[in-house]
Amino acid sequence: MAEPSTHGVPIELRKVTKAFPGGRAPAVRELDLTIAAGEIVVLVGPSGCGKTTTMRMINRLIEPTSGDILIDGRSSRDIDPDLLRRHIGYVIQQAGLFPHMTVASNIAQVPKLLGWDRRRIAERVDELLTLVGLEPATFRDAFPRRLSGGQQQRVGVARALAADPPVLLMDEPFGALDPISRQRLQDELLRLQDDLSKTIVFVTHDIDEALKLGDHIAIMQRPGHIVQYARPAEILTNPADEYVEQFLGAGSSMRLLSLTKVGDIELDQVPYAAEDADARDVLATVERDGRGYALILDGMRRPQRWVTTAHLKGREGPVGMVGDEVSGVIGRRKTLQDALEELLNADTDVVPVTGRHQAYEGALSLATVQNAIQSIKARERERRMVRLGREEGG
């Protein structure tokens, strides 16, 4: 990057109310929401729950009736709305690109408003196109109509990032895309966010999208209030009430599998040895362990081969090249769901788990995953009991 990117800033909504003239109930009612710097917060709920209204009040496309919105500690009321919006990225459904402007010109709009010189803008445009995975030479001078929906949405994200704002507002940006493009763009948003650490407010009605993207999720209910504001795992294991449970629908445990990282559960430990270890010592270790096999690591602690008692019996000196090559490993950042897939396809019942630099960290078997599922379920049950007890007591 030509210049270091601006990281996110905190946003705080204090008792924010919006009543539209003529509407009976306020669209948003005394809403409190604190968004930490650099987090993705997803506002999710059915249509008419006030999620979009809430988001649009942050950049003052809708003026709050009462309450206060603090962006990096400053009340948004004190900032001219047009200036405020130039420092808040804005992405909407189907990108909202200007069809009569080229891709480059679309992206250049905010920098132009901010008075950047032409060379700086041209450099920034190319940099952003590369960042969102579009070849600048191919796409710079194209008109939006000639791009696919996914490509248009990438340009939309690039336009929002153009002036490197600390905050991004995204209003169902991937709603109109086919499932494959949507998933790919979600993944890329997460990848971008790893580097950029913007504060992102993301509106969707798709709970799966919310669970996947959100650091925190605010589940909203008509008329205009938040039912639960928590991390995805907590919402899945401990839904605040029946409404949230209904909204989550069936399959919470499966979803939890896709939220839980391999590194977050307790891994199996199998006996292991270095390539230059003496075969007799390894055999002794394997026999002591009782499982009948061990993992051989190379000098960088990367899993190389499985050796069994049969391989080792009668051998002397370094284990060297004996044994069966490890057919696959699972990265500790993979979700349990992906790990399950790997396990079902693996040649062996046990698959090594690797961390940084592909170094061995532990192992996973179907039984380990099953235990993890059971402990999640037990935790869920326990929490429900606690809640029921609390309700009866109250």
Partner: protein, 257 residues
């Protein structure tokens, strides 16, 4: 992400419209018809009355007057209809819209001859009264198309424009007006062609124009004079329509169709 070859194929340059020579073929044909008509009137034997209406300086002066009538009335229409159309489509003023449109409709609903004569009675005979009548008569197409053109701009684009920090005026200038240009220009084209035709009536109140040939031809029963006037007005209308079409193609923003 790997770029598909399809995407690269799709980004071929926009076709360059309005550059090839055959675009100028129609107006050349129109002009040829006019020249042939005038040449014919100069060749055939004419009586005194015909000679008075068909001599070259007279015809050219009347044609020039006709062009001026169309020019001034159209400029007036643009000066009024564009700002009015913009103002009437701003959120605060939507309530006034039906009344403004009704008024513009009234101008066109009154028969053109009646309008011209009415204004001549109210004011005075002459060129500018004719321009005013033409203005009232041809305001509607441009006004309505300006409003329709602005209203059919996708509200999400306006939202996107405001959302990224453009001012209301900025969105109007950079998004709404460019997007509305094709529709507005087709309204202007209608206004122009209407004016060329209706300007023929200006002769009734002594404002000149090619209508003089028609009225003279009718009142003196000289068919050649009448036909010459009609043909020249028709040719003028066709040429103006072609110019309008050209403007529409050249001024419409790229990337829309």
């Amino acid at each position: 992400m790997s770029l598909s070859t399809a995407a690269e194929r799709e980004t071929i340059p926009e076709p360059r419209i309005g550059r090839s020579w055959h675009v100028v073929l129609p107006p050349l044909c129109y002009l040829a018809v006019a020249v042939a008509m005038i040449a014919y009137t100069q060749q055939v034997p004419l009586d005194g009355i015909e000679r008075g209406s068909l001599n070259l300086p007279f015809v050219l002066r009347r044609t020039w007057e006709h062009v001026l009538l169309v020019f001034f009335s159209t400029v007036l229409v643009l000066a009024v209809a564009l700002p009015l159309g913009i103002v009437l489509t701003r959120p605060g003023l939507r309530r006034v819209t039906p009344y403004a449109l009704a008024l513009a409709n009234l101008g066109q609903a009154i028969p053109a001859v009646g309008m011209v004569v009415l204004l001549a009675v109210l004011f005075r005979i002459g060129f500018w009264t004719a321009v005013a009548a033409l203005f009232a008569y041809s305001l509607l197409p441009t006004l309505r198309n300006t409003m329709v053109g602005l209203e059919q701009v996708d509200p999400r684009l306006v939202d996107a424009g405001r959302g990224i920090g453009m001012s209301a005026a900025g969105v109007l200038a950079k998004v709404e007006l460019p997007m509305a240009v094709p529709v507005i220009l087709s309204g202007v084209r209608t206004t122009l062609v209407l004016n060329v035709g209706t300007a023929g009536i200006a002769a009734f109140i002594g404002a000149g124009g090619l209508g003089d040939l028609i009225t003279a031809g009718v009142s003196t029963q000289r068919n050649l004079v009448l036909v010459t006037g009609c043909v020249l007005i028709a040719v003028l209308a066709l040429i103006v329509d072609w110019l309008g079409g050209l403007a529409q193609r050249l001024l419409s923003p790229k990337g829309l169709s």
